[in-house]
Each structure stands twice: as C-alpha cells, then as structure tokens.
C-alpha cells in the first residue's frame, strides 16, 4: 500500500482551502463570541491559533521545492 507524505500533501490546493476555511470558521466564532470569553482566554486562544498557522506555513514552505521546478 502506498503511503502519503504529510509535508507533500500540504501543498495541495484542497488542503490549503480546507485550512483557510477552518481558520475562517474558528476565528469568526471566536470574534463573534468575544464578549463572553475571558480576556486572557481570548488572548491566548488567538496566540495559539496563530502559532498553529505559522507552523503549518513553515511546513508548507519546506515542501515547496517542486513548485519552482
């Protein structure tokens, strides 16, 4: 059975669109409910989501070599 490389799959447009949609949904929910979330929780959640995004972007940039060939 053939395996799928996680890094390589990150450059697929479907994965990118999925990540963008998840981001939009999570952040829309968070900012819509900002009034009912404690400020510290709001702050740390934003940081956490952003850092997860940064890690994914870093992995994507590592797996991009073939895009330039």
């Amino acid at each position: 059975m053939k395996g799928v490389n996680l890094f390589a799959s990150l450059k697929n447009i479907e994965i990118k669109v999925g990540l963008a949609l998840i981001n939009i949904i999570i952040m829309s929910y968070l900012v819509y409910h900002q009034a009912s979330v404690p400020l510290s929780e709001l702050f740390y959640k934003i940081i956490l989501i952003w850092i997860i995004n940064l890690v994914l972007l870093r992995l994507m940039s590592k797996s991009l070599v073939s895009d330039y060939d």
Binding site: I13, K16, M27, V31, L57
Partner: protein, 423 residues
Amino acid sequence: MISYLFFGLVGYLLLLLAIAVMGEREQSWLRRIAQGPWVYTLSLAVYCTSWTFFGIVGSATRAGTLYLAIYWGPMLGMLFGTVLLNRIFAIKRAYHITSIADFISTRYYRSSTIAAMVTIFTSIGVAPYIALQLKAISNSFKVLNDNSHDGVVFWAVEEFSALFLIVFTILFGLRRLDISEHHPGVILAMAFEGLIKLLAFIALGLFISYGLFDGLGDLFGQAESARQSGELLHGFNNSVPVSTWLCYLFLSMNAFFFLPRQFQVMVVENTDPEHVRTAQWALPTYLFLIILFVIPVTLGALLLGLPSESADSFVLLLPQQYASPWLTFFVYVGGFSASMGMVVMSTIAISVMMSNHLILPIIEKLPSLSRLRRHLLPLRWWLALCVLAICLIVLSATVSFLLAWGCYRLRRCCSLLPQRLAV
C-alpha cells in the same frame, strides 16, 4: 521636547539615507543582504503603515478583536501566496511588468486605455491615503508636545517630512531609468524601517506588560474586574458581526497582494522567486509579533485611565506619561517609519505608473511633445513631486474643511478610517 525629537529624527533620517546609499553600491555587503530573502520579507512589512502602528490600538479599543482581520487576511493569503506569486512572477518575466497597471493591462493585450484607467483610479485612491500618513507624522509630533505649540511648528514638521520624503524618493527610487525597476537602496531602507517599527511596538508592549503591570496575568486580572464592573472595555463587550469580519478579511487579503505599493515591493522589486518561500512563513510571523501586544497595550492604557477618545494616540501617550524619553522617541520613530515606508513606496509606484501609462501615451500621440521622450527621468521626478504636493493639498483641504466647518460627520469618518482600513 521639540529639540530632542527634531534632532533625533534628523539623525534617524540620515541613518536611513546612509543605509540606502550602501544598498545602492554594487560591491557593498549591504547590497548582498538587500538581495536576500530576509530583506525581501521585511520590506513586505510596508503593509503595516501608521494606521497599524497607531490606529490598531484605537481599533481594538472601539471594536475589540475586529482588527485581527486586517492581519489574518494576509496570513491566509500566504497559504496560497506561493501558487499565486509564482504565476505572477512568470508573467512579470515574460512581459517585463513594472506596475500593477501594467499587470492588469497585460491581461487585455496591453491595452493602454485599461492601464491609464488603473493608473487614474489607483492615484485617486492612494492620494488621501498618503495624505493621512503625512497627517499621522505631524499629529504624532503634536501629541508628544502636548499640543503646546502653534500650528506653524506642526505645519513646518509636516512640510519638512514631506520634503525629505520627496528627496528620498527621487534620490533612491527615481534617480535612474531601469527596465527592471529594482531599487535595492530603497528596499533595504524599507526593511530597516520594518524592523524598527516592529521593535518599537514590542518594546512598548513589554514595557506596559512588565514595567507598568506585574506581567500579563496581573494585567488580564485587573482588566477582567474592570470589564465586569463597568463600561471601560466596551470594545470587547460587543460581538463582532461575522459579515463585517469576513469583509475585512477578504479586503485585507486582496490589499496585501494588490495595493500599488505592495505589488511594487512583492512583485516588481523581487529579485528571486525563491524568496517567497521565506516570506510565506516569516511575514505572518512578523505580523504575529507586531500585533502580539495590541490587546495588552489597549487594556493597559484603559486601566491607567487614558480617555478612550484618544485611543489612536495611546501608543504615544503611554510612553510619554509613564516611560523614559528614550522609549518615547523610539516609539515615535517607529510610527514615523511606518508612515514613511508607505509614502515612499506608494509615490514610487504611482510615479512610475503615471509616467508609463499616462504621460508616455500622450507624448506618443502628440508629435509636438516627442522631444519629452528624452526627458522621461526628470518627468518622473516632477510626477513624484506632484503626487506628494497633491497629497499635501488634499491634507490641507481636509484640515481646513474640518477647522472651518467643524463638520461632525467628516470627523467621525476620519476617526473611523483607521479602524476600517487599518493596514
């Protein structure tokens, strides 16, 4: 206050000039750095103007986390950035694209009418934007001097800044005709400015979080008590409508790629498509760091009793009232850098577009003007001068209108602009 601010600013401007000169020299080590991925990434931070530096805290005060959309949009854009930019770079190489007007007109068989229309629309759109950056420079100077001097001094600062920006733009952005439109000196200076504004905002955030409060825990604890007991943090007590959030997100994503200055830095000035690989994660990291302390700064200012009406000046008022003059000056320079980067890059982009897509077609159609073809370079200098002069006129006209008529609606509109377009 005025003397140390003024001389400090002059020193900083001279440093920028030196960096730009070194960046232009062929054999200089700074020139090699200027063509690297880190300088490219930092120069993209020209996206963060004074509306980011000053306006973001005002936006957080009024609407809580809505400001995040302006920075979340570019980050989401960078998910697709490599695919999009690779195609744009390929088109740029094939058709020698030198501006956004050029790029759009290429899609329509290099239609000169389309290019001229794009140039006109972008110029009309960018002029008030540049004017507001110039206004931010003089306003920040005014805030730091407690509004204690007459208007002539602030007018002089505004004019002096505009004069320097014109000289800088012409010297390093429009001094020579180059088919590639690469300006390594300017890009290096923009990258340096990007670094300064980032460090200034982080220094301010650390000072408020750990200098004025006992860390983030203490700050959030006090803010939570204040939030439950009153209307102090009304910006965070209201929901952000999802439609507004999505509109901001979509607009900022597009603005990041297609504003004339962004296109100039991202596409036209790019020397190696491989740099996008670094920018793809490094630029969102930059944006993350520059907005990291927005909530702490906003909460700190409100808890310390600064009036929410002057929320756009919190970034300057806090160090002025509670910190050393050095931090105050550093923050002022950060704000100045944010304004200057936008003005310089926008002026270069608009001047190039105007000369290539408005003036040249007219010259070609009118034989009596054909000798002007040989003077394209001085023509661009005049155009840069005209762009900034128009911006100053727009600015003066707006200020006069506000003073003369005290129009509430326009003031309200101006105060909301940083919130709505804080990029």
